[in-house]
């Protein structure tokens, strides 16, 4: 025991004493993300996609001949860890761009740290914070598919087009502030559109049984349900509803897991709304992602990596168009006027302006399982919203 403790102390001393090895020319970007922990399933696949993209880019010669070094730190969605990670990247590694791929609770500390250090912060896997919408904070950017408020507008629009406004609608959220905020907004919007809101169920993060919540929605007679919450809570509420014999339609946000889950659930009344194209469309870029994932022996399925791949494209474009990619200020300047072709992964190219660091246009698609063709079908093609 004594020797073990000494070896820990010795190890500590070496770790503290040895400065990290510096690769001379590489451009460093640092990512703090929920790679493990209870919600990692939503973030880790995107991060893996991003890593595969950067690896591929480096093999092809990097950006203007310079390699990109993607530094990953896990924060397990804990704010304090995220703050420490950000501080480490900014003060020790000297990154030119900070990435956040974690739960919303980590935003406040990373935003604060990035602002102090004057390094642009890009949100790559979780809901975009309000600061990236116009008028945007000059230092914050977001590539993620989620667009708070726009998501609910698109969802209710879709329900209106499918079922009219004479519809009883139920809502589902999870007991985390972001989800509750969005669903509260959606409920008000629905009332404004003349729909009848009959139930709003907010489920705790892990519920042993979702039936009590589902019973409320079912017995209130909801014909449609709009759910904007982490995937587990969306799908479990839906499955509990079906078990109760509910026959309505359920519209959920298309998280990374959406595609494999549509194939698993196989229910034509279960719709997903999202801003990323699903792999069922089999575009050439999707084949590229699949190949890269296969070659690397990836831990997560390729169809969950879209978000990370898009982030990779944007990072490449930003570094390539920066005058001096080694300077954070120059990178930020390049990011403030950027247009990236998403090759069909999104409904159009992703554009940032001085004012708008979310994107100038947000496109939505709705998918569901078609039992006749035994496959995923597009219910509603790209619907475009201007972001103002």
């Amino acid at each position: 025991m004594k020797t073990m403790n000494w070896s820990i102390l010795v190890g500590l001393a070496t770790v503290l004493a040895a400065p990290p090895a510096l690769a001379q020319d590489a451009l460093k970007i640092g990512l703090t993300g929920a790679l493990t922990g209870p919600v990692a399933g939503t973030y880790a696949p995107a991060v893996e996609g991003l890593r595969l993209y950067i690896d591929r880019l480096n093999k092809a010669g990097g950006v203007n001949g310079r390699q990109i070094e993607l530094l990953l730190q896990d924060d397990a969605s804990e704010p304090s860890r995220a703050a420490a990670n950000a501080k480490r990247f900014l003060t020790q590694d000297g990154v030119v761009m900070l990435l956040n791929a974690s739960l919303s609770s980590t935003y406040a500390p990373t935003i604060a740290e990035a602002k102090r250090a004057g390094v642009p912060l890009l949100f790559t896997a979780a809901a975009c914070p309000p600061e990236v919408f116009p008028p945007a904070d000059p230092n914050l950017f977001c590539t993620t598919a989620f667009g708070t408020e726009y998501d609910s507008r698109a969802a209710l629009n879709f329900i209106k087009e499918t079922a009219g406004t004479e519809v009883k609608i139920g809502f589902q959220a999870m007991a985390i502030p972001v989800s509750r905020g969005e669903i509260d907004y959606a409920e008000n919007l629905a009332k404004g559109m003349g729909m009848t809101s009959v139930a709003k169920e907010i489920t705790p993060p892990p519920a042993p049984d979702y039936s009590p919540f589902a019973s409320n929605i079912s017995s209130a007679g909801a014909e449609w349900v709009w759910s904007w919450a982490p995937w587990g809570s969306q799908i479990k509420t839906f499955e509990a509803l079906r078990r109760l014999g509910w026959e309505g339609n359920y519209l959920a946000w298309a998280h990374l897991e959406a595609e494999s889950e549509l194939e698993r659930v196989k229910d034509p009344g279960f719709y997903v709304l999202g801003a990323n194209a699903l792999f069922a469309e089999d575009l050439p870029v999707m084949q590229e992602i699949t190949d890269a994932a296969q070659a690397a022996g990836a831990e997560y399925p390729a169809n969950q990596m879209t978000e990370g791949w898009i982030a990779g494209m944007v990072i490449e474009a930003a570094l390539a168009s920066a005058e001096d990619p080694g300077s954070a200020d120059s990178v930020r300047e390049a990011m403030s006027g950027l247009s990236v072709d998403t090759k069909g992964l999104r409904g159009g190219s992703l554009e940032w302006t001085e004012e708008n660091h979310f994107r100038t246009q947000q496109h939505y698609k709705v998918y569901r399982w078609n039992p006749e063709s035994e496959g995923i079908e597009t219910v509603s093609g790209w619907t475009t919203f201007d972001v103002e």
Binding site: T14, V15, L35, A175, R180
Partner: protein, 359 residues
């Protein structure tokens, strides 16, 4: 009662005044001075990242010292430590957001809120013991976190409450090195308070209650009063640590105060060594630095890229193993190891195993 000196040190107290001195021997004086010097020079010798680490250690040390008073000294188990930290942080955050209250208002208010909660947390201790007490404090933890979450959602601070750096006499506490010294001072002050509490009537009363409640009562110690006092003092200090956390990190959010945080603090006092203030400090150092050491060790291993995704899981598992190893093989914690090493050198070239101590 002052701390006992090892009998073989050759130093004996010869007057009552000796009993009251904080630093007794010349060796202690020199080493304390050298240690203080190292602490003063440290932030100027290393990168800001290590300054941040050291600052985290100081912050943890304040909480660990407080918990040591309650659990290690007075023998009252609490699993509500993260709840208390959250209470302090939220008091600060709410006062700052709603009223723009400055540093010198929020900090005492946090302490006051902590003290009040201490009474609430402490009341069950009058009736309950051991596990039941632990569970009731755990329940209160959930209550505090729920209230904090409600505040965040209702007021629309869904990604946490941002708190600006405090301003003291027109000077903004903001740079890492400034924070280093602020928290070093706070930790040193807490240590001094704890040492003096231990040497005073209440410290003796707590130890008596810890050893045997019935005997303590027979000796004329007001059990209820001193138990509550332990809870109040611990909670006030812990809530202050929470307030300092809010200012240091620049934000407050419920997710930062999970049950795991409580477990980490409990681990600090176990790994450090129950019943010893030095143990609390060593434990805070160990538990705070442990994940970084594991990360460093894993980065040094070949194939680090592939492992990047599992660092945290490895950390978790390793932390569990270390805790188990300490509980099973070294119940006296780091302080036990430290004492053995010290005695080894003090007694050298002789070997001695004290009565009641494991060989």
């Amino acid at each position: 009662m002052s701390k006992p000196l090892p009998s073989a040190s050759g130093h004996f107290r010869r007057s009552y005044a000796d009993e009251f001195r904080l630093i007794e021997t010349r060796l202690a004086k020199t080493s304390a001075a050298a240690f203080a010097l190292v602490l003063l020079v440290f932030p100027f010798a290393v990168s800001p990242f290590y300054v941040d680490l050291a600052t985290q250690v100081f912050l943890a040390a304040i909480g660990a010292l407080a918990l040591m008073l309650l659990t290690g000294i007075a023998g009252q188990i609490s699993l509500g430590h993260a709840g208390l930290l959250a209470a302090g942080a939220f008091t600060t955050g709410i006062l700052y957001k709603e009223f723009g209250a400055p540093f010198w208002v929020t900090l005492p208010s946090a302490a006051l809120a902590g003290a009040l909660l201490g009474v609430v947390f402490g009341l069950p201790s009058l009736r309950l013991r051991g596990l039941y007490l632990a569970v009731s404090t755990l329940a209160l933890h959930f209550l505090v976190v729920y209230l904090g979450g409600e505040y965040e959602t209702r007021r629309g601070f869904s990604t946490g409450i941002l708190v600006d750096p405090p301003v003291v006499f027109g000077y903004e506490i903001y740079a890492p090195r400034v924070w280093y010294f602020v928290l070093l001072a706070a930790a040193a002050l807490t240590l001094l308070i704890c040492i003096n509490l231990m040497r005073s009537r209440s410290g003796r009363a707590w130890r008596a209650i810890h050893s045997n409640e019935t005997v303590a009562e027979a000796l004329g110690i007001g059990i209820a009063r001193y138990k509550l006092l332990a809870f109040v003092i611990t909670s006030a200090i812990t809530a202050m640590a929470g307030a300092l956390f809010a200012y240091y990190r620049g934000f407050v959010s419920i997710e930062a105060f999970s049950l795991y945080l409580t477990i980490q603090y409990v681990a600090m006092i176990i790994i450090g060594g129950m019943g010893s203030l030095l143990g609390a400090l060593l434990g805070a150092l160990f538990v705070t630095l442990f994940p970084y050491v594991i990360e460093g060790a894993m980065a040094a291993l070949p194939g680090a890229d592939r492992l990047a995704g599992s660092v945290f899981a490895v950390n978790y598992a390793a932390f569990g193993i270390v805790m188990i190893l300490f509980l099973v093989f070294e119940p006296q914690g780091l302080v036990g190891i430290w004492r053995r090493v010290r005695n080894y050198f003090l007694l050298w070239p002789f070997r001695q195993t004290a009565l009641g101590e494991r060989p």
